[in-house]
């Protein structure tokens, strides 16, 4: 028996190029959408002269910033293996509450006329509270995330319509619009902010234990729990963070549009999920990167822009946009070679 220990049980593994290749392959999948994006840009340049101008590209970015924030939020929830549909209503109600707090009663506000800074803080708080409420229902009371957040989506939309009586809110202080109106290097601050948010989140997801725990929970919650991860707490935190990120997206949208209508953010969740899934975020949890999600957003932003430039009749734009998303999902399925489960 004594010699058993010394004898290697299997040929000692050399660091074969095989392992390097698998790493490369994984990276390549992350970049899978980049060629598609480039192809679309080239196509756009041919189709329309004004497509590849600085102004148009910046306008694509500006128009995508709010969507990007919500996709970021949704991606975090999806990686953790949950769902949050109510984010699209947060995009509407969070900035609306802020606006109602600053606006005088004459402009259909609540007449509290809070200072803008406090009101903007309130916007974030609304996002956090909605996220926490969803999180408690889903994580603590173990309700089904899909249905809970679907109900929240409707409730919040209803609250927004009720509080504004369906009217559009406008005339807020400049700070409500400054994310979209102020620029740095010709690019709106909202774009910078979204870029920073993606970079920070991507970094945390890759290099922080909490970030990695999102993947562990989404991949196998029991294993995560056995490894000492506080699964419930992390999930709850993710819902809160997602709510805050979506409320920031709401402020960006407000700035981009210049007002808050009662249907701000409505039907956005479909685009959000499409961007996330095209970008390689799994609806089953545990899979996907921020870079992928970002490319998903940009892809849809470019398509939207191309449709506008091509002067597609507005009555048809929805059908075409939806169809293109469907095709994009199919193409992403083929090029990434993985099931979009």
């Amino acid at each position: 028996m004594a010699d058993t220990k010394a004898r290697p049980l299997a040929p000692v593994r050399a660091r074969t190029p095989g392992s390097a290749r698998t790493v490369l392959l994984r990276r390549a999948r992350e970049l899978a959408l980049v060629p598609a994006l480039l192809l679309l840009m080239v196509l756009g340049a041919f189709v329309n002269d004004s497509f590849l101008t600085e102004r148009n590209l910046i306008s694509i970015l500006g128009a995508s910033a709010a969507l990007a924030m919500v996709v970021l939020a949704e991606s975090l929830v999806l990686i953790t293996g949950k769902f949050d549909l109510s984010l699209e209503s947060v995009v509407g109600i969070a900035p609306a509450v802020g606006a109602l707090l600053v606006l005088p009663a004459a402009q259909s506000g609540w007449g509290t006329e809070l200072p803008p800074a406090l009101a903007l803080l309130a916007v974030l708080v609304v996002g956090a509270v909605v996220g926490a409420f969803n999180g408690v229902l889903v994580v603590k009371f173990k309700l089904n995330a899909f249905i809970v957040t679907l109900a929240m989506l409707i409730v919040l939309r209803g609250l927004l319509v009720g509080a504004t009586k369906g009217k559009t809110l406008f005339g807020m202080p400049d700070s409500f619009y400054s994310l979209a109106t102020t620029t740095f290097l010709n690019i709106p601050m909202s774009v910078w902010l979204a870029a920073v948010a993606f970079a920070v989140t991507g970094f945390v997801l890759k290099y922080h234990r909490v970030g990695r725990s999102l993947y562990a929970i989404g991949g196998n919650a029991d294993a995560a729990r056995a490894a000492g991860i506080r699964v419930e707490r992390v999930m709850l935190g993710v819902f809160v963070v997602a709510g805050v990120l979506a409320s920031v997206g709401g402020i960006m949208q407000t700035g981009y549009v210049g007002a808050i209508s009662a249907n701000q953010g409505q039907n956005m969740i479909f685009t959000v999920f499409a961007a996330a899934v095209i970008g390689g975020i799994s609806l089953d949890g545990g899979k996907g990167t921020m870079f992928g999600a970002l490319t998903g957003v940009l892809l849809l932003g470019v398509v939207q822009n191309l449709l506008t430039l091509a002067q597609v009749p507005s009555f048809w734009i929805q059908a075409i946009y939806g169809g293109i998303i469907l095709v994009a999902l199919m193409i992403a399925r083929v090029t990434t070679g993985r099931a979009q489960d």
């Binding site: 028996m1 049980l9 000692v12 196998n220």
Partner: protein
């Protein structure tokens, strides 16, 4: 004699009214491989959950190295003492091997994960324990044996030197099992202690030094395997059920015509199986889980498709892989799991009982309500289902009555072949009697019956019991067998 590494005394664990463990005892000495054996429900898994600190015992003590076990909430302390490799993976499939080894304790540099160090430490850890797995491989891509070794290495890296292996060989083939054993021996030489749980007794003799037997939630014996010949081990597991089973041994009419005739059935679950069932004959299929017995039975119901072989029912070929066609050919069956496959819980008893015979109750897909109700009422009477009537939802019923509804549906089409898979699983004694007496009635009507079960009581009514082991029929017991004979061949002792 050295202090035992693990010592459990008088462990009692109850779940509500059922006592899962009445007297659990275990003493494992450092450096040995200790086998824990017992039939299903003997209390092995319960003892393991107590030993690994997943649940506190209601009574009794667990000591590690002479010291009392840490409190349940102190997971780190438990992880440093004991780890269990379950059949179900406890790794995150999408993450790399390296990351799985260090989940939630990744090496940090200035507060952030250093992937270089993570990969280096993972490679070192795997090398230390001679695990030849690429640390950067996706864990989902690993083979079962490699995944098990990764889990063992992870447990060892926490400082645990006591590893529980819960049926590690169940999903492995023969060569993988050999490799696992040689690794176990090597680890044992480096001071790792194993608690080895297996249904394959020959493996116990191959790799373990000591064996503890549990039966009916109680400790029976602990002995060195060398002092425990197979017969004694089987007897300890099966108990003294030598008392003549007062069973009128039925003499199946040997000259009755063959109803089911299967030749050379082969699939990934079983190999080259011949099977005949005569009119009015009840044939039992026994075997450990993974022996292929369930798949074999499901073959005749269309749920499992063999790769080759033929089956004829009453002289006509029986199509494979098509439940509808099987039903038409005259097969009635009780599927393996009434929750998953047997019942639609939201529907009423009447709807469930008649689900497979709707075409007889009306034309062109329309179902006559009155006829359905009448038919269902008749079935309810026939099977003695305790219910308010055919309109009560199935979800209201107890396990026994729900199973009777499944049986009712199997009988509803007046089948020529009745296939019953675990027909009395999770059913109380009285319902069990009633369900099994249905089998006798069916037999008298000339139906051929095939029973797959882990319950000896189900098999006792059979005219003969075939035992499957690794997909092959290895034994045939005519009615009147002794419990320990059957268990011995089920556990694969005679033909290990």
């Amino acid at each position: 004699m050295s202090t035992p590494l693990v010592e459990a005394q008088g462990v009692v664990k109850r779940y509500g009214p059922t006592t899962a463990l009445a007297d659990g005892r275990l003493t494992v000495l450092p450096g040995e491989s200790h086998a824990l054996v017992g039939r299903n429900g003997a209390g092995k898994s319960t003892l393991v959950t107590v030993l690994t600190g997943l649940q506190a015992p209601d009574e009794g003590t667990v000591r590690f190295d002479g010291e009392p076990a840490p409190p349940l909430t102190d997971r780190d302390a438990w992880r440093g003492k004991v780890a269990c490799v379950y059949q179900k993976p406890t790794v995150v499939p999408e993450l790399t091997v390296a990351e799985n080894l260090f989940i939630n304790r990744q090496p940090l540099r200035r507060g952030f994960i250093s992937w270089r160090r993570l990969h280096k430490e993972a490679a070192e850890l795997l090398d230390t324990w001679d695990v030849s797995v690429d640390p950067e491989a996706r864990t989902a891509d690993l083979k079962v044996e490699d995944r098990q070794m990764v889990e063992i290495a992870r447990a060892l890296s926490f400082g645990a030197r006591f590893i529980v292996l819960d049926e590690p060989t169940a999903q492995l083939d023969k060569r993988e099992i050999e490799r696992l054993f040689s690794r176990m021996r090597a680890l044992q030489d480096s001071g790792v202690t194993f608690l080895f749980i297996s249904h394959h007794l020959q493996e116990v003799y191959e790799v373990c030094q000591t064996v503890t037997v549990l039966r009916d939630a109680r400790w029976i014996t602990t002995a060195p395997v060398t002092d425990m010949p197979r017969a004694a081990l089987i007897e300890a597991m099966a108990g003294e059920t030598v008392a003549e089973q007062e069973q009128a041994v039925r003499t199946a009419e040997v000259d009755a015509p063959v109803l089911l005739d299967a030749r050379g059935l082969t699939s990934d679950a079983y190999e080259d199986v011949d099977l005949t069932v005569r009119r009015g004959e009840v044939v039992g299929l026994a075997g450990i889980s993974g022996s292929g017995k369930t798949e074999l039975a499901e073959t005749f119901t269309g749920l499992h498709t063999p790769t080759s072989g033929t089956a004829r029912l009453d002289g006509r070929p029986l199509p494979f892989g098509d439940v509808q066609a099987s039903l038409k050919a005259g097969v009635g069956f009780v599927p393996r799991d009434r929750h998953a496959q047997g019942l639609v819980f939201g529907m009423t008893i009447g709807d469930n009982a008649t689900l497979s015979v709707l075409d007889r109750l009306g034309r062109h897909g329309f179902v006559g309500t009155d006829r359905k109700r009448g038919f269902a009422t008749e079935l309810i009477d026939r099977l003695d289902i305790h219910t308010e009537g055919p309109d009560q939802p199935v979800s209201d019923l107890s396990g026994g009555n729900a199973q009777k509804v499944v049986m009712a549906r199997a009988l509803a089409s007046d089948p020529r072949l009745l296939v019953l898979i675990n027909p009395t699983a999770g059913v109380d004694v009285k319902s069990k009697e009633s369900l099994l007496s249905r089998v006798d009635t069916a037999r008298e009507d000339g139906t051929a019956v095939l029973v797959v079960s882990d319950e000896l009581d189900d098999l006792r009514r059979c005219d003969r019991v075939l035992v499957l082991f690794h997909g092959r029929v290895v034994a045939e017991h005519p009615a009147g067998w002794r419990d320990h004979e059957l268990i011995a061949s089920i556990e694969g002792v005679e033909h290990g």
